[in-house]
């Protein structure tokens, strides 16, 4: 038995800030101090508070060390692990009490969270099946196979009110029922782990932190729908997730939790992994299945829906990673447990990847019905540098935005749809007063133009034309007529595209037009960018009152656009100026402004 466990985050975020080297150093220091028999080092999945990574938690005290560097490790081992004195300077401020530490659950970041899908992330070793089992893993599967008929399993999922977490929000139980009622001899289960929205990493974190729960949930789905084979389609850009999934599948096979006659029930099920090559459209369910089949990832028209004719032309149930992650808890704790969380029509919790202009960048799981204000001001810790909140972008390139005036909206599927936004898969990008909404819309449209598969004309040609209009606007060359054209085109693409990618591609434009039309009009009519982002519409100006003629700006200008003599006010030649902002950051007197 080990008296102390040291948990180090091995998620993608902390790994990129060197947590692997920290683990190596920890192990060698612990061995050098002769503590190898007493202290165990465990690499876990994501804790959620990525802004403070690399993260280390030392138990039994529950010390939360943040932004740990390799050089800090000898001190932690010597002081904490050997002598029992916490290294105060590395503790997360919010957890520090006079002579001890507060539980993480008391901190603002975690207090309002409710972890269902992420329950094991940052708690267990994802590469050790025993630890998953220790936290009640595979009991839900045993319960299904031993106690319930497939119909009963589907009824539980239906009663729980779980809806698809990939963004669609379709009732999961109903989806399972459609496949189960099909009497075809071969059926499939597919897990969509092709998480492509910029800034979203919910699914990656579940796969990295708790891969067995996906294996278990897919097996349950197989039993409920009558499928004997499953595919996990995961992006090749997620190497850690892929590695842990492979280990999980291997471990499950060794324990007989995958394979023939699971739990002596006569039920057979096995899983395969397929890697996506990074095309956004493959996150669309029909394109994803086409890609698994070995063909070029292009969507196909629905109907027929996958429940009728899906993978390899057989009935298929496809769910997103986060949807699956909820299943074992629903089976174990009952439909009522899950349905007791959330709002009337959106039950349970939702994971969001918080990013952008927010202090606590990271992964949060909140009950449905939490307001955007709570997420941003309490859990997220507010906007950095005292700036003002402007809007939150949800749902990535398929989503919309929630403006500051609607900050008290309770987040669930229907409320977001009602305000012209969408839940999306869970990316939540926070924007402050320095973000230009037209520029944001252009960014997402750039993305969809690149990612359009080209199969249907509305998406292939339409999004390109939309981007051209947006470019005209940000260049200050557009007219009000262009704004109308943009809106008309957006609705046309929405109504006529073949798949979800095209149907939702205009959303960022439509949402920003709805809430921030004044910003569009400022670009078009006044030829001004209120946030000071669009380069073509702004000029750098030196205030002669404030300028002391120190020449610093002129020396920093890469274009030689600034002239003036020592101790006399300088002037910027707007014809030569390339608007890089170097002068503004060099000036010590704040004499230069954007206008």
């Amino acid at each position: 038995m080990y008296r102390s466990h040291v948990l180090v985050c091995g998620g993608t975020g902390c790994t990129s800030s060197n947590s692997a080297a920290i683990i190596e150093k920890l192990e060698s220091e612990i061995a050098a101090k002769g503590l190898a028999e007493e202290v165990k080092v465990i690499k876990t999945g994501c804790f959620g508070l990525c802004a403070l990574g690399p993260i280390m938690i030392v138990y039994p005290e529950g010390c939360f060390y943040s932004q740990v560097k390799v050089d800090d490790v000898p001190e932690i081992v010597e002081e904490h692990l050997l002598k029992g004195r916490m290294v105060k300077r590395l503790l997360y401020d919010e957890t520090v009490k006079e002579d001890t530490v507060k539980s993480l659950n008391e901190t603002k970041f975690y207090a309002k969270q409710k972890r269902v899908a992420l329950r094991n992330c940052g708690v267990i070793d994802p590469e050790n099946i025993d630890e998953y089992i220790a936290f009640d893993g595979y009991q839900a599967l045993a319960k299904c196979l031993k106690e319930y008929t497939p119909e009963q399993v589907i009824q539980i999922v239906k009663d729980s009110g779980l809806r698809g977490r990939g963004g669609g929000g379709f009732p999961t139980g109903l989806k399972w029922e459609f496949t189960s009622k099909n009497s075809a001899p071969q059926k499939y289960v597919v897990c969509n782990a092709d998480e492509g929205d910029p800034g979203a990493f919910m699914d990656r974190s579940v796969l990295e932190g708790d891969p067995h729960c996906i294996v278990e949930a897919m097996t349950i789905c197989g039993y409920a729908t009558g499928a004997t084979e499953g595919y996990i389609y995961v992006r090749a850009e997620y190497p850690i997730a892929v590695k842990r999934l492979k280990i999980a599948i291997k471990e499950a096979r060794e324990y007989g939790l995958l394979g023939k006659n699971i739990f002596d029930s006569g039920f057979d099920f096995d899983l395969h992994i397929r890697l996506g090559a990074g095309a956004f459209v493959c996150g669309e369910e029909t394109a994803l299945m086409t890609s698994i089949e070995g063909n070029r990832g292009e969507p196909r028209p629905r109907p027929p829906y996958p429940a009728v004719k899906g993978l390899f032309a057989s009935p298929t149930t496809e769910n997103n990673v986060e949807t699956f992650a909820n299943i074992p808890q629903i089976i174990l704790k009952g439909a009522e447990y899950f349905a007791s969380m959330g709002t009337e029509k959106s039950k349970g919790t939702k994971v969001f990847a918080l990013g952008g202009k927010i202090n606590n960048t990271g992964l949060v799981e909140i009950p449905m019905g939490t307001t955007l204000r709570e997420i941003i001001e309490e859990i997220g810790g507010g906007i950095p540098n005292g700036k003002k909140f402007k809007a939150a972008q949800t749902g990535g390139p398929s989503g919309g935005c929630i403006p500051a005036s609607l900050m008290d909206t309770e987040i669930d599927y229907d409320n977001l749809t009602a305000i012209g936004c969408m839940m999306g898969s869970g990316g939540l990008i926070v924007m402050d007063e320095d973000n230009c909404m037209v520029d944001i819309a252009k960014f997402f449209l750039d993305f969809t133009v690149d990612e359009s598969c080209g199969k249907c004309a509305p998406c292939r040609i339409g999004t390109k034309r939309m981007r051209e209009i947006l470019e005209k606007i940000t260049d200050g060359k557009a007219t009000l007529e262009d704004l109308d054209k943009l809106e008309k085109l957006a609705h046309y693409i929405k109504d006529n595209s073949l798949c979800g990618l095209g149907q939702t591609a205009p959303n960022p434009v439509l949402a920003t037009l709805k809430f921030f039309r004044d910003e569009y009009e400022a670009h078009v009519v006044d030829k001004k960018c209120p946030a000071g982002v669009c380069k073509a519409l702004l000029n750098y100006v030196i205030d002669p009152e404030k300028c002391i003629g120190c020449t610093l700006c002129a020396r920093n200008c890469p274009a030689g656009a600034i002239t003036g003599t020592v101790k006399n006010p300088h002037v910027i030649d707007t014809a030569k100026c390339i608007k890089c902002g170097a002068c503004m950051s060099a000036c010590k007197k704040q004499a230069i402004s954007k206008q």
Binding site: P60, G84, I133, G256
Partner: protein
């Protein structure tokens, strides 16, 4: 895997080893003084003895950790036992041999070994 019993056996076996990671106020904490004075007086064998003994008896509600100097260096090795809702019990001049009795009498049966505690000197 053929039966739920098989699964539960793995669960229980692994769970005991993971007690230290639980954020649980119901857990009894055994804290060993491990400052220079404690280590010099022989706190390490005491700490190891606690770990061994607790594992042997499969006590899932006990965690063992160290702390710095408690301030009574002449009485080291000092061990404090904190049970939820009860007064702290401070054992002094502990040895590895005394540990087995503390675990058996105090942690298992709830009767502190008074003759080993700091109260025994003050009398």
């Amino acid at each position: 895997m053929k039966s739920l019993e098989e699964l539960m056996a793995i669960r229980d076996k692994t769970r005991v080893k993971m007690t230290v990671r639980e954020d649980n106020s119901e857990v009894t904490r055994v804290v060993v003084g491990m400052a220079t004075c404690g280590i010099a007086a022989g706190a390490r064998p005491v700490l190891n003895a606690f770990v061994d003994e607790v594992e042997k008896r499969k006590l899932s509600n006990v965690t063992i950790s160290q702390t710095g100097c408690i301030g009574m260096c002449q009485y080291e090795p000092i061990v404090e036992v904190m049970e939820p809702g009860k007064d702290k019990v401070t054992y002094i001049k502990m040895t590895a041999d005394k540990v087995a009795r503390v675990v058996a009498d105090h942690l298992v049966n709830g009767n502190p070994v008074m003759e080993y505690t700091v109260a025994s000197i003050e009398k």
